[in-house]
């Protein structure tokens, strides 16, 4: 495919924006982890300084603080692992990927956005692997755009389900929110269409207020994306 410099630049800018959004979100969470650990270590210091002959160290509070610290360390490790996997998702522009992993990863990476929107974001994944050929990074990028649009349309306390199904020749990822129109601009549609093209996809949008977005894959063939709006 011959591409114009403008088109390459736009694609790069969109990729950077997606990468930036995810890393900013994870770094924010990591900062919260560090801030909490700093306060917990400060609390331990306060407890030690408060010790007097008539007031011994409060062992229960020490243990409780250490347990909370461990919880935060585990949380931090989870974010670092997610960040590392996400960074490496751009390593291979074309590889065999398990769509279950890809969906699970982008949903995990989008949990902060879900929290900020007060939306309950869940997945329904098949037990077996769902293999496709493509770029994990680009697949996550397209899914993230759908997730973000559906979550923005969803109201507080509502559920957004990312459902992956493999019924033979066709693999479908459905991002379903409440039955409500998803307000996206013509610019959004245009950019998504262009991005889909970048991964060899055909992007179809329909009118309506189903509150759903769908992506279709046919293994061994180019990715076909369909978004119903």
């Amino acid at each position: 495919m011959v591409r114009s410099p403008d088109r390459d630049l736009a694609a790069r800018q969109n990729g950077f924006a997606f990468f930036g959004a995810i890393t900013a979100s994870l770094s924010h969470e990591l900062n919260n982890v560090l801030a909490t650990i700093k306060e917990l270590s400060g609390l331990l210091e306060d407890l030690v300084h408060a010790v007097k002959p008539e007031r011994p160290l409060n062992g229960e509070r020490v243990i409780s603080s250490l347990e909370k610290m461990n919880v935060q360390v585990e949380r931090g490790r989870r974010y670092v692992k997610q960040l590392n996997r996400f960074a490496h998702s751009a390593d291979e522009p074309e590889a065999a990927i398990d769509l279950c992993d890809t969906v699970a990863e982008i949903v995990a990476l989008s949990q902060r956005l879900a929290k900020l929107n007060r939306v309950d974001l869940i997945t329904e994944l098949p037990e077996q692997m769902v293999k496709i050929d493509g770029s994990s990074f680009e697949a996550q990028h397209v899914l993230y755009r759908c997730l973000k649009a559906v979550m923005t349309a969803a109201g507080q306390g509502e559920k957004v389900v990312v459902r992956l199904s493999d019924d033979g020749p066709r693999i479908v990822v459905e991002v379903a929110g409440p039955d409500r129109a998803i307000d996206v601009s013509p610019e959004w549609l245009h950019v998504t269409e262009r991005l889909a093209e970048e991964v060899g996809a055909v992007f179809v949008s329909e009118g309506g207020d189903s509150g759903k977005m769908l992506l279709h894959w046919e293994p061994g063939r180019a990715v076909i994306g369909e978004v119903r709006l």
Partner: protein
């Protein structure tokens, strides 16, 4: 002994709970809430010497909460705590009348100093309001 009234507003439950404990051991009278909406309710019920406000929260964010807190009480002394703030956000925060913008993780002594400054400012403003009202009454009655 201080007993300044402090409101902590942050959706990070563990963070806010531990910070509240640490401030309480330093003799502050601390309330905590996990959202901007709850902060507005609390601020309407009780006068605080200092409000420590997180910027990125679900629902009403820190900037909108700050704007509304200052509408409820223009003398509110708000210190914004954040993991990060863009130049645009920082400018808006200061324009809205926040006392300070501190980056998390923050040193407890810096925070204590900020709260003390907030309490001093609030006291001065309160004195100023009393003086203005007294002068107004004197003028009105021609005393």
């Amino acid at each position: 002994m201080s007993h300044e009234k402090v409101l902590l507003v942050d959706d990070e439950k563990d963070f806010v709970e531990v910070l509240a404990m640490r401030l309480e051991t330093r003799e502050f009278d601390v309330d905590m809430v996990l959202s901007g909406e709850e902060a507005l309710v609390k601020a309407g019920q009780r006068g605080y010497d200092a409000i420590l406000l997180d910027l990125a929260m679900p629902g009403m964010d820190g900037i909108e909460t700050l704007r509304r807190l200052r509408e409820i009480n223009p003398d509110s002394q708000v210190i914004v705590l954040t993991g990060r703030a863009t130049v645009k956000q920082a400018t808006e925060i200061m324009k809205l009348g926040a006392l300070d913008l501190l980056e998390k993780p923050v040193d407890i002594e810096v925070l204590v100093e900020g709260i003390s400054q907030a309490a001093t400012n609030k006291f001065r403003l309160s004195e100023q309001r009393i003086a203005e009202r007294t002068e107004e009454i004197i003028k009105r009655h021609g005393w």
